[in-house]
Symmetry: C2
Subunit: 260 residues, 2 copies
């Protein structure tokens, strides 16, 4: 199964600790993975590193995991292909532009009959995955519904309803951001943890790496990490419910809903 | 002044030799540069590395210049800011999606009165540069003119006419690709060279690096490199004329026009 990783923080934060754990699962301790990608926002723009190869052996992934790129909004993904060949265009995260913003998305799961159930005619996928198709559906629905730029939270509440539509087609765990707000939607497996003062230390599951966040942070920092499975062993992660969606702004929950 | 670099080849080709020369100009031998970026196509998708910092001191740029990423279509840029702050969203190349394709573009020059002369209402820029604005203008014109997907060469011939419009607003040297075809438009400075058998060796201008292409290539390889200024000292580069545009496919010229 693919795995998702997201971050929403109120200060540019280093993701190396969490990404290192994810990277281990991309071909070492996890199932062999068919690609990986990570998107960091820096202001309004994003930069993405991705490869259709296992990240545990990637020189670029190693660089990302050692280079202190800081960001307030991050989306990452390791892929086990189930729809679409092992090509760069099928590698998550995907980015599209709308309303002077970059929108980035990654998905874990499988969708049935997506081309018929989720019609698109304008914003079309480059690759052949059900995941990118669903992303294009979300973007096209958003564009057509509001016509012109709409506040982020209004847009993401609308996206949440459309994600519920998508979830009817199968397994849909997804993270999406416009660089400011981040939405997480869960049908089967998605966890999150919010770290804030007083900070404690955390120990990764697969690596002998413990971080004392007290030393690494400032007292006002709020950092939420979203992941398919908990990345650390000594912290309590929140498991999202089926068809629950949460919107985060600067690490804080600003909207939460469980759809029927 | 910013500098452009592009490549069109009939086989995935390593750009490290040319990029190393460009990188030197981004803060070492050239004027201090305000950012750099490079986009490599891999199949239908592209990956972009960019930073709003001088590339001559960048760890990522160093990695790109040492890691043998091969591609048939490459666009790169080093920036000396004249419009828009030193932020990632103002750093070239820019990418947009249309018709199941990724389109990538970089520009050298300055445009006057671009917001009025080049109206856009749908495909909007994320950053604040005249360059990205002009790119959005090209994409929106293309989208509105053809409504549905059109063969690459037809699309790029149309783009060429619209580039002529843009060039009326100032200096417009630009490279744009859909991953298959590459268009180069020159108003003041743009050169290209096509290397094919029998290959010889080439010596970079700023670095003591000579490559014997005979050893690095196969007899059927055709590789065109486009650059603001010639990158090598011992080869004859073709200087493009004012308002000349050329479309390359797999390294070969397939369309050329000099506009009045």
């Amino acid at each position: 199964m693919c795995e998702l990783l997201g971050m929403s923080a109120n200060t540019p934060t280093d993701i190396r600790f969490s990404f290192s754990e994810l990277m281990q699962r991309g071909g070492l301790v996890g199932v062999h993975c068919d690609g990986w990608g990570i998107t960091f926002y820096d202001g309004k723009a994003e930069r993405t590193f991705k490869e259709p190869d296992p990240c545990s052996h990637s020189l670029f992934a190693k660089l990302v995991s050692t280079y202190p790129l800081r960001s307030k909004s991050i989306v990452a993904h390791i892929r086990q292909a189930n729809s679409g060949g092992l090509r760069l265009e099928n590698t998550h995260p995907f980015t599209r532009h709308l309303w002077r913003k970059s929108w980035t998305y990654a998905h874990n799961g499988q969708l049935a009959n997506h081309k018929k159930a989720l019609p698109i005619s304008d914003i079309m996928p480059v690759g052949t995955t059900d995941s990118e198709w669903a992303f294009c559906y979300l973007m096209e629905q958003l564009q057509n519904h509001y016509k012109k730029q709409t506040p982020s939270l209004v847009a993401l509440k609308y996206i949440a309803r459309k994600m519920r539509n998508i979830a009817k087609q199968g397994v849909f765990n997804a993270i999406m951001t416009d660089g400011k707000l981040t939405i997480a939607y869960c049908t089967t497996e998605l966890h999150y943890i919010t770290r804030r003062a007083p900070f404690s230390s955390a120990l990764l599951k697969s690596l002998d790496w413990e971080v004392d966040f007290e030393r690494e942070t400032s007292p006002n920092d709020v950092v939420t990490v979203i992941a398919t499975y908990p990345l650390t062993t000594n912290e309590v992660w929140n498991k999202m419910k089926s068809n629950e969606c949460i919107v985060f702004r600067e690490g804080e929950i600003i909207f939460r809903k469980i759809f029927k």
